[in-house]
Symmetry: C2
Subunit: 195 residues, 2 copies
């Protein structure tokens, strides 16, 4: 990065992610990221006071990258609420799977950080549940889904599908039966919410 | 253990568990277990050819200790099928939680072993699903649950409650909202199976 460009948060995080990928989370220091950006490490420390802060920020950005395309999907109003909900859930699952397959090392780091960053994860989960809540509210309004509290239903569905999107289960996602198992759970959920 | 008693599999596994608890899974060897039993390690190797074999056998015994009382519960016919199913699920959850709280080190070892011992876990899960299948079949016969394939339904419910009984989620079991979250998922399941 040229020194005459302003040092944006995005530029720092992009560089940090590249450095983390190259050296691994254990060996990467704030100084390494400063070097990659050709800035003094004092400059970088003003943005991120510790390695942990930098790592969390990189993880947060990764979580946003998962949540944003899902938000677009949640906003699409074509089709039945059941179809929209299933499409959304499968997009969440595919997104997690894509990351674990294409970038297993970063996925491992994210998984480790998220174990400690309880608030960050709670916010991410709340964001995802909020997206589902919108779809479910539409389904209830259309009498396609039985009446109830849309957010409560969304939380229940999020937790009932844990096995398919929670990083702790990544080792189970490559089994030959995982799709079929999702279908079983989806049919159970649908049977529970459909009017 | 006195040398004149026969060396049963159960005696070996009991000693192995005690030694594993004392020294931890990394430091425990077959020789340590032989010493605790006051037998030659040749004798012990005839029963368990490796440390891994011994560890797996101890884990298998632990899984049986979880499954057996649940089998008794599944066989009890008092109350509605919904109540029996909920009681069974909560007993499974409590059993896992009890182990993680009372014996976190052994729980950690079991969790690690189960990641590799795919077949052993598949058998354990199949055993648990079989128990639920019985309860669900009773509910279907009594027209309390909607008709369907009891085993398929049992599998769906087992996977939908993953967050509450899979060891990978042990770190989430001490949150203040976990009971309420189970209730949400249970209501969703019940709504999906009740006639």
């Amino acid at each position: 990065m040229a020194n005459d460009q302003p040092l944006t948060k995005e530029a720092i995080l992009e560089a940090a992610e590249q450095v983390l990928r190259r050296y691994g989370p254990e060996k990467t220091s704030v100084v390494d990221v400063a070097k990659a950006l050709q800035v003094s490490h004092g400059t970088l420390y003003r943005h991120f006071p510790s390695k942990a802060a930098l790592r969390e920020a990189v993880t947060e950005r990764w979580l946003h990258r998962i949540a944003e395309p899902l938000q677009e999907l949640a906003n699409q109003l074509d089709g039945s609420a059941a179809d929209r909900l299933r499409t959304w859930l499968q997009a969440l699952i595919q997104s997690k799977r894509k990351h674990v397959i294409e970038d297993p090392e970063m996925f491992g780091m994210y998984s480790a950080v998220t174990l400690d960053a309880v608030e960050m994860i709670a916010e991410h989960v709340q964001h995802l549940i909020g997206q589902m809540t919108g779809i479910i509210a539409d389904g209830m309004n259309a009498k396609e889904f039985r009446s109830g509290e849309p957010e409560v239903m969304a939380r229940a569905i999020f937790f009932a599908t844990t096995r398919f999107h929670h990083p702790a289960h990544a080792y189970e996602w490559s089994t030959s039966t995982i799709e079929q198992e999702f279908d079983l759970v989806w049919e159970l959920i649908l049977s529970g919410i459909r009017n």
